[in-house]
Symmetry: none
DNA sequence: AGCTATCTATAAGT
DNA sequence: ACTTATAGATAGCT
């Protein structure tokens, strides 16, 4: 055991720093916890906030990395709701409920081709008009404006409802675009 | 620098182990990745599976630790659906939809400005009556409708901007109500 | 489906 | 809120 000191992969400086750090830790660091209800009120609130954000971030990353569609609804014990949705919560819920209703045939592909982006369906006629609210209303005539007004009513109703909810719950995380959809303006 | 060896917090054995480990790493270890769509098919599949499981675990822990109610729906790009629900997915969705549908009278406005900043643009007139989009447009005449249209243009422009931003970020968590403001309808 | 180095999330403490 | 040590998640291999 007569190795020369210089063979150590850790320098004296580093060792000193480590020892120094051990003497006066600025924080205690993360501890292992049991996964059971946190009884202390303040701790539970902090954990809820941190972990909720963490989970939503994970969801966002999963959407982005793997092109997934995700909807998340979280109710706190107090009943406050927090949501995440991509492309929108209502889109995901609708899709889920629809698929649940019509007994869709999920033939087992044994996971082999999952998470593979589906190519454009050729037969599907997709209107490329865009969203109705993206249309300019400058050129609309009175009749068209009337129709627009109808859509607007529905749209505004959703906005107001959403806004009141958000204000009440003091959260701005709620997906607003429940009214998202493509509607062709009749001309 | 004549410290005795025994003051080292790291033993020779540990040092040897570390050096040994460096010589023959059994894996390359985790690498930092950009959060954008994983183009390689196989990698995306694997990431989707791992991260989906990870997220569901996080959700489960959040439920247990903080007594939360959570529902999660995930669609893979292929269209396969994966769910999580506590106490059950249907319970959470029902609760969410019920709260969404029924119009609630929120009389407590003590905290109503928590997540929004009221801002006056360009010295515009500000009224305390309410939001212009809360007004019924049923009774507006042509001139008033014209004015409404002008506000709507601005409003819609904000909505479109926000939406594009959201699509860019692929998240619907963002606060949409940057456009909130009180504007008096001239009558 | 396992392994491990490394990155990331987060429990405690300030 | 901010910091920091550490538990936990996971990218790249096999």
């Amino acid at each position: 055991m007569e190795k020369p000191f210089r063979s150590l992969p850790i320098s004296w400086n580093e060792v000193e720093q480590q020892q120094q750090a051990k003497r006066k830790p600025k924080g205690t660091g993360r501890k292992k916890i049991e996964i059971k209800k946190i009884e202390k009120n303040s701790s539970r609130k902090v954990a809820f906030s941190k972990r909720r954000k963490g989970m939503f971030k994970k969801a966002e990353e999963l959407c982005w990395l793997c092109d997934a569609e995700i909807g998340i609804i979280v109710f706190s014990p107090k009943g406050r709701v927090y949501c995440f949705g991509h492309p929108s919560l209502n889109y995901v819920i609708d899709k889920f409920l629809t698929e649940n209703d019509e007994f869709k045939d999920y033939s087992d592909d044994s996971d082999s081709n999952d998470c593979v982006t589906e190519e454009e369906e050729d037969g599907e006629e997709v209107e490329e008009e865009g969203f109705w609210w993206e249309e300019s209303i400058e050129d609309l005539n009175m009749d068209e404006l009337e129709i627009y007004k109808t859509y607007l009513e529905k749209f505004r109703c959703n906005v107001v409802t959403k806004m009141e909810e958000m204000v009440m719950r003091r959260t701005c995380e709620r997906d607003f675009f429940g009214v998202r959809g493509r509607i062709l303006l009749i001309k």
